[in-house]
Amino acid sequence: MRLATAANEAYTASLAVSELLGCKQCGGSRGQDEELGIRIPRPLGHGPSRFIPEKEILQVGSEDAQMHTLFADSFAALGRLDNITLVMVFHPQYLESFLKTQHYLLQMDGPLPLHYRHYIGIMAAARHQCSYLVNLHVNDFLHVGGDPKWLNGLENAPQKLQNLGELNKVLAHRPWLITKEHIEGLLKAEEHSWSLAELVHAVVLLTHYHSLASFTFGCGISPEIHCDGGHTFRPPSISNYCICDITNGNHSVDEMQVNSAGNVSVSDSFFEVEALMEKMKQLQECRDEEEASQEEMASRFEIEKRESMFVFSSDDEEVTPARDVSRHFEDTSYGYKDFSRHGMHVPTFRVQDYCWEDHGYSLVNRLYPDVGQLIDEKFHIAYNLTYNTMAMHKDVDTSMLRRAIWNYIHCMFGIRYDDYDYGEINQLLDRSFKVYIKTVVCTPEKVTKRMYDSFWRQFKHSEKVHVNLLLIEARMQAELLYALRAITRYMT
C-alpha cells in the first residue's frame, strides 16, 4: 500500500471556497439569501464593476458547474475571488485560459523570484495609476515576503528593478520606441543585469499588467473591499479612498441619468445595431467587386493611423494621479504620445515580418518554456471567441467586426497587416466606439462611465466585456511584439 497526498494545496483552498460559496450538492435546498449571507462583503452596494449594474453580473452561487470550477480555481490560485474574475466570468472559456496564464506567471516555475513578479506587476499597473491592481499586488507582494521598503518607490527597490523602469515606461506608452539598446542596457548592467529568461518573464508580466490595467478601467472594476481599508503598511498620510474613485468619480451619480438617457435613445441605438449589421453584410458582399487600388490601400492604413491619434474624448481633462500609486514610477509626465503629433516618424511595423505565431511564440517559448503556449492559447481564445450574436440578433458572423477591432488597436500601435483593408475599420467602428477603444488602450485611467455607456448602446454588457477582452489581448500582443522584436534584434 502506498500513501499519497491528494493535491493538498488545492484541496484546502477549494474546501474553503465551497464553504464560502455554499456547496453545490447540498446548497440547492437552502434559500438564496441565506447562501448570500456569508458571501464576500461588498463595499457601498455597487458590485464588482461600477459600469455594469450588479444584477447583470453573475451572482456567486448561481453559476453553473463550469463557472463554479473556474471560481474554485481562481480562489485556489489567488486565495480570493476578485472582481476581475467576477466580471470576466461572462466569458468562462476565456477566463479559464486567463487564470491559468496568470497563475503560471505569478506562482509557477519561472526565472524570477515571487516577490519580484508581484513588484513588476505593481510597477506595470502603477504606470496607468491603476490602484486596484496595485493594491492587490501590494498585498501579494508582502505576503510572499517582499520588503515593504520597496513599496515606498522604485528608488527603494534593487537597482535591477529600477533598470526595468525605463522599459516599463516605454512599453506602456510608446512601445514602438523600444530598441535593442533598451534590451542591451538591461542585459549588460554588470551585477544588476538581467538574464534573457528573466527579461522575457518580466516583459510578459509587464505587458500582462498593462493590459489588465486597461481591463480594470475599461470595465470599471470596483476596488476590492479589503484593499480599501486602512492597511498598516500604508503611510498614515494616505487616505482611504481609491484613486479609481477620484479619477472617474462619477459612477453612482449619473447612473440614473444614463438610464433615462438610455431609454430615450432606444430607437436610436436600435438603428445603430441595424446599420452596423447592414454594413457588415455589404462589406462581405462587395468585397470582390470593389477592389481598391494599391495606393489607396496603403493610404488607408496611414489615414487610420493618423486619425487614431485625434480620436480623443472631449472630456480630456488632466487628472493628477494620487500619491500612493505614483510613488512607484518617477516620470508621471511620460504618457501616451501619439505617433506624429510630435513630429516623430515611426516606421510601420509589418506583421508579416514579425508576427506572434511564427516569431514571438518561438522566442518566448524558448526563453520561458510553456508560457508561449499559454499566451498563444489566450490570444487564440480571445481572437476567436464568438457566440454568433450581436445585441438582439442571433447567428451573426462577427469575425469581420472582431478583426476590425483587433486591427484597429494594432493600427494605433503602428502595426500593419498587409492583407487588411483599413477602410473597413471606418465603416464598422463609429466615433464613440473608437474613443472608447483608444482611451482604454492608451490612457485607461481616463475611461469614464459615460464613455462606456455611450458606445454600442444596444449591446449587452457581456458583449462590452467581450470587446474589452479583445482590447486587452490585442494590446498585450502589440506590446509583446515590439518588445520581442527588440530582443530578437539584440540576439542576432
Partner: protein
C-alpha cells in the same frame, strides 16, 4: 568562408561547377527558388524580387522584376516558385493575398503576367504542378487553397481547410493528382486535386503550426513536415494511417525543409527564429546533424538544392540580406566535434562505457577504471556499414561489472540517516555525530566531530585545543612534554585512520608505532590494508570531486571499509595502554612535515576529552592558559572541510557546514559550498534518502540550494474513471463528475491522505484502511483481493 573547394559534377551532359560564395542583396529575402537549368535563382522578399545568375565565382544580378515607381503590396512577396517545366514561368505569393504569375518571355520591362486576387488574407505558399504546365496551387492565411489554371482568369477549384490558416502546399512528385497541405493547428491534409469537397486524409502531425512540408523526390510515400514544435517528422503515407517513420528534434522551430537529392535519408532544414544555421540531417541519426552551414547572420528564410540530381550545392536566402551558395564539402560537420563517449549504469550497478575505439585502445592502460582491477566483461565493436558516419561513429563498448557486495555504501546511508544536523545545541550535535561515526567505525570522522565540539563549544577547553594546534603546527613550540603526551594519545587513531592520507612511507612508520604500542593489529594485516587502500581512496576522492557517478565504480571501497569495521573494537580499548608508550622522535618529525597530518594530530588530540575522562585535559589546561577565540580556528576548520571534500567525503563537509552554521560559513566561498551541497544532495537522492536530502536542502543557507525544494511542488492526479488529469480539486473530476477517491470502508470521499492497495487499487482513508486490515485480510471493497498493509 574562405574555403575554395570546387566541385564539378557531371549531370547528364551538363556540369555544375562552383564554390561556396555569397552575395549581398539590398533587402531581406523571404524565399528563393531555382530555375530548372540550375543556373539561375530568384530571390523574393518584401522589397526585393530579383533573378541572379549563378556563375562559377559569383552571383550576377540578371533581372530586377520590381519595376514601376510606386512600391505595390502585390510585390511584397511571401513566397516565390519557379516552374520546373517552363523556364519562363514564375509565381509569387504576396502578403496582401494576391497571387502573381510572371512570364520572363514577355518583351516588355514589366514581366507581370497574371494577377489573382481571390485570397482574402496573406498567401503563404504557391506551388506549381511538377509536370503540368498550367496548374498552380496556392495556400493562404484565410484557410483556403486554390488551384489556378494559368490559361484562365479565375481559380479552377477551391479547397477549404475549415478556416485554419494554410502554411504550406506541395504537389506530390509521384502522384499526379495528390497534394499535401499543412495548417496552423498542426494538421496535415492530403487532397485529390479533382475532389475539392473534402480532403482524402487528415492527421495531426505537430503540436502547433506546421510551417512546411516536402515530398521525398524518390520515395513515393514519404512526406517530411516541420513545425513550430521544433520537430521534423517523416511520414510514410503509403500505409492506411500515416505513420511517423522518423523524427528529428531541432533546436528551433522549423521554417523550411527540403530533401537532399540523391541522398535517400538526408534533408535540409532552416529555422524560423533564433537559430541562423542550415542543417542537413540524416533522418536515421536524429541527434547530430550531418552537416551544418553557418554563413548566415540572421535567420535563413529560403533554402533550395541547386539541381534536382546534385546533392552538393545548396542555395539559401536570409533575412540578413544575403544569398548564399553552400558547398556540401565546405559544410562543418558537427559529428567531428562530437564526443562519442557515453557512460551508463545498469540496474545492478554495472557500468557500460562507450568511447571512440582509438581512445580506449591507447588509454586503457592509463585509465584507472580500465585498469587491472576491473575487467571489461565484454568488448564489442559496433559497425554499421549503412551509416554514413560509420567511420566516425565506431566505438568501443566496455562493460564493467560490480563485484558482489563491493559497492556497499552502507556506511554512507547509515551516516546520512543517523546524523543529527540541527535542532540541538552544537555540543550535543557534535557528540551525537561523533558517536554515529564511531559506531560505524569511522574514527577519523568521529574525532573530527569531537574536535569541533571542543573548538566551538567549551570555552574552558579552548586552551587544550590551542595546545594541540600548536603541536599540529610543528614541534617548534618547544614543549616536549605535551607533545609526547599527545602523540601517545594519537597513536590508535592513526592506526586506523591516518593511513587514508598517507603514503606508504608514512605507513611504515605507523606500523612501527603500532608495533611498539603493542596493538592487536597484526603487521601483515595493516600492511595489506595500506596496499589496497591508498590508491582506492585516492580514486574515490578524485572522482567524487568531479563526477559523483563514478565513485560507485570503485569495487575496492568496501575493502577499505572492512578493516575500519574491525578496528574500533580493537583500537579503542587499547587507547589507555598506549598512553604510556614513549614515542619515537623521528615519528614526530614525520608528522610535522605532512600537511594532512596536522589535521590528524588535531583529531588525535580530541581523543583526549572523548574517550577518557576530562582529567587529562585539566593538565593541559593548567599548562596553557592562552585563550583564543574559536574564530582563530576557522581557517583550520575550513581547511579540514576542504580536505574532506577533496577526499570525496562531501557528506562530512556538508554536515559540518550545516552543524557549524554561521561559524564557518563566511570563510568558504558560496560557490564551493553550493558545489558541496549539490554533490551531497545528488548522492543522497541516488540512495533514495529523500528525507535526508530534503532536510539538507532545508538547512542549507545557500539560496540556490534552498530554492531546490520550492520548485515542482505540485502533485498531479488523474481521475480514476476517465483517466483525465484533475485540474482543480483532488477528489472530484471536472469532466465525468465522479468522485475519484472514495473510501472503501466508509464510502465517503477522501480528501487528504488516501491509501490504496497496489494489487486491487481499492483504498480509502488511512485510518479506516488500517483499522479494517487489522481485523480482516480481504479488501474492504469486497473484491476478494487479499490486501497487505505495510
Amino acid at each position: 568562408m574562405e574555403k575554395m573547394s570546387r566541385v564539378t559534377t557531371a549531370l547528364g551532359g551538363s556540369t555544375l561547377t562552383g564554390r561556396t560564395m555569397h552575395c549581398h542583396l539590398d533587402a531581406p529575402a523571404n524565399a528563393i527558388s531555382v530555375c530548372r537549368d540550375a543556373a539561375q535563382v530568384v530571390v523574393a522578399g518584401r522589397s526585393i524580387f530579383k533573378i541572379y545568375a549563378i556563375e562559377e565565382e559569383q552571383f550576377v544580378e540578371k533581372l530586377n522584376l520590381r519595376v514601376g515607381r510606386k512600391p505595390s503590396l502585390n510585390l511584397s512577396c511571401a513566397d516565390v516558385v519557379w516552374h520546373q517545366m517552363d523556364e519562363n514561368l514564375l509565381a509569387t505569393a504576396a502578403t496582401n493575398g494576391v497571387v502573381v504569375t510572371w512570364n520572363l518571355g514577355r518583351p516588355s520591362r514589366n514581366k507581370q503576367d497574371q494577377l489573382f486576387t481571390e485570397h482574402k488574407r496573406t498567401v503563404n505558399k504557391v506551388c506549381f504542378h511538377p509536370t503540368e504546365a498550367h496548374v498552380l496551387l496556392s495556400g493562404s492565411q484565410d484557410g483556403f487553397m486554390k488551384c489556378f489554371d494559368l490559361r484562365r482568369k479565375d481559380s479552377v477549384s477551391t479547397f477549404s481547410g475549415q478556416s485554419e490558416s494554410v502554411r504550406d502546399v506541395q504537389f506530390s512528385i509521384r502522384d499526379y493528382f495528390t497534394f499535401a497541405s499543412t495548417f496552423e493547428n498542426g494538421n496535415v491534409q492530403l487532397w485529390d486535386i479533382r475532389r475539392p469537397d473534402r480532403c482524402e486524409r487528415m492527421f495531426t502531425a505537430h503540436n502547433g503550426p506546421v510551417f512546411c512540408c516536402d515530398w521525398h523526390p524518390e520515395d513515393r510515400g514519404w512526406l517530411a513536415t516541420g513545425g513550430r514544435d521544433k520537430m521534423v517528422k517523416v511520414w510514410d503515407m503509403t500505409t492506411h494511417r500515416a505513420k511517423e517513420v522518423h523524427c528529428v528534434q531541432t533546436i528551433a522551430s522549423v521554417a523550411r525543409v527540403k530533401w537532399r537529392p540523391e541522398c535517400r535519408h538526408h534533408l535540409a532544414t532552416c529555422s524560423m527564429m533564433v537559430d541562423h544555421n542550415i542543417y542537413v540531417w540524416d533522418v536515421r541519426r536524429p541527434f547530430v546533424p550531418a552537416a551544418m552551414f553557418e554563413e548566415h547572420r540572421d535567420v535563413t528564410t529560403g533554402i533550395a538544392w541547386r539541381h534536382p540530381h546534385d546533392p552538393s550545392f545548396l542555395l539559401s536566402g536570409s533575412k540578413d540580406s544575403t544569398l548564399c551558395q553552400h558547398l556540401f564539402r565546405d559544410a562543418s560537420q558537427p559529428v567531428e566535434r562530437a564526443n562519442p563517449e557515453g557512460l551508463c549504469y545498469g540496474l545492478f550497478g554495472d557500468l557500460a562505457f562507450a568511447a571512440k575505439e582509438s581512445l580506449v585502445a591507447t588509454e586503457s592502460g592509463r585509465k584507472p577504471y580500465t585498469g587491472d582491477r576491473r575487467h571489461p566483461i565484454f568488448f564489442k565493436r559496433k559497425l554499421d556499414p549503412a551509416e554514413p558516419f560509420s567511420g566516425l561513429a565506431s566505438s568501443a563498448l566496455s562493460v564493467f561489472e560490480m563485484e558482489p557486495g563491493s559497492s556497499s555504501m552502507s556506511w554512507f546511508v547509515d551516516t546520512a540517516e543517523r546524523y543529527a544536523l540541527a535542532g540541538r545545541p552544537l555540543a550535543e550535535l557534535c557528540d551525537h555525530n561523533a558517536k554515529v561515526a564511531r559506531d560505524l567505525g569511522r574514527n577519523q570522522v568521529a574525532q573530527t566531530w569531537t574536535m569541533l565540539r571542543i573548538i566551538y563549544c567549551s570555552p574552558g577547553l579552548v586552551p587544550t585545543t590551542n595546545l594541540n594546534h600548536s603541536v599540529g603546527k610543528g614541534s617548534s613550540c618547544g614543549l616536549p612534554l605535551m607533545n609526547s603526551f599527545n602523540l601517545k594519545d594519537m597513536a590508535p587513531g592513526l592506526g586506523s585512520e591516518t593511513r587514508l592520507d598517507r603514503s606508504k612511507g608514512d605507513a611504515r612508520s605507523d606500523t612501527v608505532l603500532l608495533d611498539s604500542s603493542a596493538t592487536l593489529i597484526t603487521n601483515e594485516d595493516n600492511e595489506e590494508t595500506e596496499g589496497s587502500d591508498v590508491p582506492a581512496d585516492y580514486l574515490l576522492g578524485d572522482v567524487e570531486g568531479e563526477d559523483d557517478e563514478l565513485y560507485l565504480l570503485d569495487p575496492e571501497h568496501a575493502h577499505s571499509e572492512e578493516p575500519d569495521y574491525v578496528l574500533p573494537q580493537e583500537a579503542f580499548p587499547l587507547r589507555h595502554e598506549i598512553v604510556d608508550t614513549p614515542p619515537g622522535p623521528e615519528h614526530l618529525q614525520d608528522k610535522a612535515d605532512s600537511p594532512h597530518v596536522s589535521g590528524n594530530e588535531a583529531d588525535a588530540a580530541s581523543l583526549v576529552p572523548v574517550d577518557s575522562s576530562f582529567s587529562l585535559i585539566s593538565v593541559s589546561h593548567a599548562l596553557y592558559d592562552s585563550r583564543l577565540p574559536p574564530d582563530f580556528f576557522s581557517a583550520l576548520v575550513c581547511d579540514m572541510l576542504r580536505f574532506y571534500a577533496e577526499q570525496g567525503d562531501v557528506q562530512m563537509a556538508v554536515s559540518v557546514l550545516i552543524v557549524l552554521g554561521e561559524r564557518v560559513r563566511k570563510d568558504i566561498d558560496e560557490q564551493t559550498q553550493e558545489h558541496w551541497y549539490t554533490s551531497y544532495i545528488d548522492l543522497l537522492q541516488r540512495f533514495c534518502l529523500w528525507n535526508v536530502s530534503n532536510q539538507v536542502v532545508k538547512l542549507s543557507t545557500s539560496r540556490a540550494i534552498s530554492c531546490l525544494n520550492q520548485a515542482s511542488t505540485t502533485l498531479h492526479v488523474n481521475c480514476s474513471h476517465c483517466k483525465r488529469p484533475m485540474s482543480s480539486r483532488g477528489w472530484v473530476c471536472d469532466r465525468c463528475h465522479h468522485c475519484a477517491s472514495m473510501c472503501a470502508v466508509c464510502h465517503h470521499v477522501v480528501k487528504g491522505l488516501f491509501v490504496w492497495c497496489q494489487g486491487c487499487s481499492h483504498g480509502g482513508h488511512l485510518q479506516h484502511i488500517m483499522k479494517w486490515l487489522e481485523s480482516s485480510s480481504h479488501c474492504p471493497a469486497g473484491c476478494g483481493h487479499l490486501c497487505e498493509y505495510s
